[in-house]
């Protein structure tokens, strides 16, 4: 080559380049790949003991796998898991966990409304929204236990016997805006099995539609039969502790008539039929609107896991009245 091309002296030979460590650069950090570095105590920490986590789960599973597990929990399990230790507490603050819980629970409002509410009312915190926004619980049944005293027939006795009669109203809600309702004297554990859409006619489980607006639930059911009767229920959601949502106050229970022309399809949205009706409005003169005043004890929530063990199963001779609080 022509020698007039001036090269820097150190670039003259390939071996010089290697020696300069210009080619084949050492990257020592690559040696750390795949090695999990144990967390060290904060600077100035009083504890000088070795920080080996006794929990296998923390030593083995990286955070992203722990998150995979958390993402598949129900919000209630999640809430309990948050109380286990500091690491879990911080992991569970992840908003995406609560966002999916919120979007699922309030799917009737639609995602856009949910996003707007989360940002305008709950400071952009999905967890806040989960705790403070009234919601209907779907992981169990709502039970209203009603008792009344009936005077019995005196048979060769001086004193009149009285009977305490106990009956229940059962509600179970579904995320898609449907719910099932049953009124019966059967105990909770017997009813829980048949409270679904697959229930046979003999179970007397009625299907209806509901809507949640703030903490108010409006629901409507069509009773089948010759004289079609609509049952309209107004409820208010509240909780015995913050975010529990384990009570439903029965505000109004109205039976009213409906005109056959309004019902085209038995699967129609019943709420749509009664939309804008007055409280005492009836569309069938044979069936007057009646607002019921009896059996309005607040509903108590019982999760599926406690159906067998709940105190609401107790017979009247063990528990004559349940104070709902």
């Amino acid at each position: 080559m022509a020698s007039d091309v001036s090269l820097p002296p150190e670039a003259s030979t390939y071996s010089r380049l290697i020696a300069m460590q210009f080619m084949g650069t050492e990257r020592p950090w690559l040696n750390l790949y795949g090695i999990r570095v144990r967390p060290v105590a904060a600077f100035g920490s009083v504890s000088s003991k070795d920080l080996v986590d006794p929990a296998l789960i923390h030593r083995c599973l990286p955070d992203e796998l722990l998150f995979e597990v958390f993402a598949r929990m129900t919000p209630y399990t999640l809430g309990r898991a948050a109380c286990v230790c500091r690491k879990w507490k911080y992991a569970i603050r992840n908003p995406s966990l609560w966002r999916s819980a919120c979007l699922k629970t309030w799917q009737l409002s639609g995602p856009i409304t949910n996003y707007q509410l989360a940002h305008s009312v709950y400071d952009g915190s999905w967890k806040n929204m989960w705790v403070h926004r009234p919601r209907i619980r779907m992981d169990g049944l709502y039970v209203s236990r009603n008792t009344y005293i009936r005077v019995g027939v005196a048979e060769w006795k001086v004193t009149n016997p009285v009977h305490v009669v106990c009956y229940y109203r059962y509600l179970k809600f579904y995320p898609n805006g449907k719910f099932v309702y049953k009124i019966s004297s059967q105990k909770l554990k017997e009813v829980a099995k048949c409270m679904n859409f697959r229930a046979s006619k003999t179970d007397c489980v009625h299907k209806g539609d509901y809507g949640l607006d703030g903490d108010l639930i409006k629901a409507a059911i069509l009773y089948p039969g010759l004289r079609r009767t609509l049952l309209r229920i107004h409820l208010r959601v509240r909780g015995t502790t913050v975010g529990a949502n384990n009570r439903l106050d029965l505000l109004k229970l109205v039976t009213t008539g409906v005109d056959d022309s309004e019902l085209n399809d038995p699967n129609d949205d019943m709420l749509g039929v009664v939309e804008g009706w007055q409280e005492d409005e009836t569309h069938n003169p044979d069936v007057p609107a009646i607002s019921h005043k009896r059996g309005l004890t607040p509903f108590v929530f019982v999760p599926f896991e406690e159906v067998e063990t709940s105190v609401l199963n107790l017979p009247v001779d063990k528990m004559d009245y349940f104070v709902t609080g």
Partner: protein, 163 residues
């Protein structure tokens, strides 16, 4: 006749050898190994002639994972699969060390179905347990301060199914 045999042989030849970290060898069909996204990529670029080393996964774990992959590459009815999955998880659940390793390995090999299955099972193990029960089961230290605990109990009180 002869051609049919060679075809069958060709089918049979689509086997791949996987080597675990403790150099145990597993010969499986290609479609079984393909369940793992990572191994699939390796097979695509390096072929299936030479054994594929699966470093970081021990023999017993790899055996169990391949068992899962084999079952799931058959395309059986859903009910059969679900039942089998449940039995498979029941077995795995008993040994926590094994269970953790299984999850790590399936994550490492990128078998998303198995990661999902394990995570669901894991979440099921924590269901309806009190924090103290969870700590005992997984040997977790309670490093929360008194104030933190009180604060948590006020914000998460609803999770404890108050009557």
């Amino acid at each position: 006749m002869a051609t049919i045999i060679t075809k069958e042989q060709q089918e049979k030849e689509k086997m791949v050898t996987l080597v675990s970290s403790d150099s145990e060898k597993f010969v499986v069909e290609q479609k079984v190994a393909e369940k793992s996204h990572v191994i699939k990529m390796v097979m695509n670029c390096c072929g299936i002639e030479s054994p594929i080393p699966v470093r970081r996964v021990k023999g017993d774990i790899l055996k169990s994972i391949l068992e899962y992959c084999e079952k799931h590459s058959k395309g059986e009815a859903q009910e059969v699969m679900e039942k089998w999955d449940k039995e498979y998880m029941d077995k795995a659940e008993k040994d926590l060390v094994f269970f953790h390793d299984l999850m790590l390995a399936s994550h490492f090999l990128h078998i998303q179905e198995l990661v999902d299955l394990i995570a669901v099972t894991f979440a099921g193990m924590l269901k309806m347990k009190s924090p103290e029960e969870i700590r005992q089961k997984f040997n977790i230290n309670n490093d929360l301060t008194k104030e933190q605990e009180e604060h948590i109990m006020t914000t998460f009180g609803w999770a404890f199914q108050p009557i």
